[in-house]
């Protein structure tokens, strides 16, 4: 479904992603594991097209020069240089890191805004699914999103991504800054999204422990380069991964 081949991203002369190749098959749950500044977010921005928009805006104002090499294919079509809104139309939806929501709008309005490209009826059905998935959002649906807790905002952010009807859902550090209980809750939700809606999911995370065992396939990324890859449970046993991510 998604093929990334030899992707390289430069910010000026700094190399953020170095010859990175990966793929995601339809219906799979894959992950990119890496520490801070490993290049996870750059990869997510390249896949969602945000990088293209950021590059254009930097270009207009004569700011940082961003260079993108290599190719990204999605369902047989090259999308390396498509702007973000065209990728959303094709079903690639990114849920950015640090629970991005619209703080001044209430929960319901956040979800309505997310349905921008979808038919009203489809949005309504997706919202029902989101409320089933995260019942707490339903009880807070008239509350301003800015006043929700971090975990609730993360649920809302994922809910918004679902309303945008992704076929390939990109989750950038969904577990960041959450309690272990909330992390488990979200991991369960991710599995439910996959099983009930058949969504293909790619997760970028640094907290490997709760998510790694569930991944069909995972890539370990360091300094913009892939260092290891393999099935999730297999990587759990890898001594290097254990040393770097589990502290054993």
């Amino acid at each position: 479904m998604l093929q990334v081949s030899h992707l390289m991203v430069f910010f000026e002369n700094a190399l953020a992603l170095n010859d990175f190749s990966m793929e995601v098959g339809r219906g799979e749950l894959r992950g990119v594991i890496g520490s801070n500044s490993a290049g996870k977010t750059t990869l997510m921005h390249a896949l969602s097209g945000l990088l293209i928009d950021i590059r254009i805006k930097e270009q207009r104002r004569g700011g940082e020069r961003i260079t993108l090499m290599g190719k990204i294919h999605y369902e047989g079509e090259e999308i390396t240089h498509l702007p973000p809104h065209e990728r959303v139309q094709r079903g690639i939806v990114l849920c950015r890191e640090r629970h991005p929501i619209f703080p001044e709008s209430d929960v319901l309005e956040n979800l309505k805004i997310a349905g921008y490209l979808r038919a009203r009826e489809e949005t309504r059905r997706s919202m029902e699914f989101v409320f089933d998935l995260f019942p707490v959002l339903k009880s807070f649906r008239r509350k301003r999103a800015g006043f929700l807790s971090g975990g609730e905002q993360q649920m809302l952010a994922i809910g918004m991504a679902i309303v945008a009807a992704p076929r390939l859902l990109l989750l950038d550090e969904p577990l960041l800054g959450l309690s272990p209980a909330m992390q488990r809750h979200l991991v369960d939700a991710v599995q439910q999204i996959r099983s009930e809606r058949g969504t293909t999911i790619l997760i970028a995370e640094q907290f490997a422990r709760p998510i790694l065992p569930l991944l069909d396939y995972a890539y370990v990324i360091e300094n913009g380069m892939m260092t290891l890859s393999g099935a999730g449970p297999e990587l759990m046993e890898n001594p290097e991964v254990r040393a770097a991510y589990f502290g054993v």
Binding site: K57, R60, P84, V93, I113, Y116
Partner: protein
């Protein structure tokens, strides 16, 4: 006399609100302070005048035509000039102010000065509220102001494009991740701002004359209302319009009309020293709580 002043104070407040709505809408959505706003206002005025007197269109065609044309001028301003300056606030201000200056001074150069540049009122006659007589044009201004505020609220809360406006206004990248086209929405925000400005011009200008200087006054008034109310806040615009509008009218009544302009300037200075984000600059307050 007190009642009369109150009625005219309210009319004045609605005028301020009408003038500020478009400026506030554009800024609230795209973060662009459109300093060509006054020029768009005057452009509408002279445009309607030309369509009426040179082309010979009837008023009910000329006025809507200019509203549409001014909205298109706003969109063009974004497509041609602002798109390359997005995110650089100072450049946006300089560019829009420059375009505004050029348009306004071009009209002056063409010789559009004098008392013959007036628009006929859309409604003739007057009504009485108790002992106070109010001409129908001023009553119309109040009706248009109230209706427009209501329509605008419905639009931003219940239509697809309106919700996209609110999304982009709050977090551009998140909105883009949901498929909202940032440049297109910004262009629409300037078009809507221009259209609102033109609507205000069409209903307000008949009670005075069209002049180049009105462009600068309108910009100043819109800025004052938005600074006092808190830039980007719709509630702020309405509250600030009433504070400034009533204060202006009562000052004119009891101290003389040449003090009217001072009220606006003092209000700007006071707010900037006491509460720089304006009366309803809410965004900050929310951030502090989290």
């Amino acid at each position: 006399m007190f009642l009369g002043t109150l009625v005219y104070g309210i009319v004045n407040s609605v005028i301020l609100a009408l003038v500020a709505l478009g400026f506030n809408l554009t800024f609230g959505i795209s973060g662009i302070a459109n300093f060509a706003y006054g020029a768009l206002y005057v452009l509408t005025g002279y445009g309607v005048w030309i369509l009426l007197n040179e082309v010979g269109l009837p008023l009910f065609l000329a006025a809507p035509a200019m509203v549409v044309l001014t909205a298109m001028a706003g969109a063009l301003l974004y497509r041609v000039v602002l798109i390359r300056l997005r995110g650089m606030a100072i450049s946006e201000v300089i560019a829009t102010f420059g375009v505004g200056l050029a348009v306004l001074e071009f009209f002056r150069y063409l010789g559009f000065i004098g008392f013959e540049y007036t628009l006929p009122p859309l409604l003739d006659g007057s009504l009485s509220i108790g002992p106070v007589f109010l001409d129908l044009q001023r009553a119309l201004i109040v009706i248009v102001g109230v209706t427009l505020t209501g329509v605008l609220w419905l639009f931003t809360h219940h239509t697809r494009l309106g919700l996209a406006f609110r999304g982009i206004a709050q977090d551009e990248h998140t909105a883009m991740c949901l498929g909202i086209h940032s440049d297109r929405v910004a262009m629409f925000s300037l078009a809507f701002g221009g259209g609102l400005c033109a609507l205000a011009a069409v209903v307000i200008l008949p009670i005075g004359t069209i002049s180049v200087d009105a462009g600068y006054d309108v910009l100043l008034e819109a800025l004052a209302v938005c600074i006092v109310g808190g830039l980007g806040s719709a509630v702020g615009v309405i509250v600030a319009s009433f504070i400034l509008g009533l204060a202006q009218t009562y000052t004119a009544m009891y101290m003389g009309s040449h003090w009217m302009m001072i009220v606006t300037l003092v209000a700007i200075l006071l707010i900037l020293t006491i509460r720089p984000s304006g009366l309803f600059g809410k965004q900050k307050e929310l951030e502090e709580r989290i």
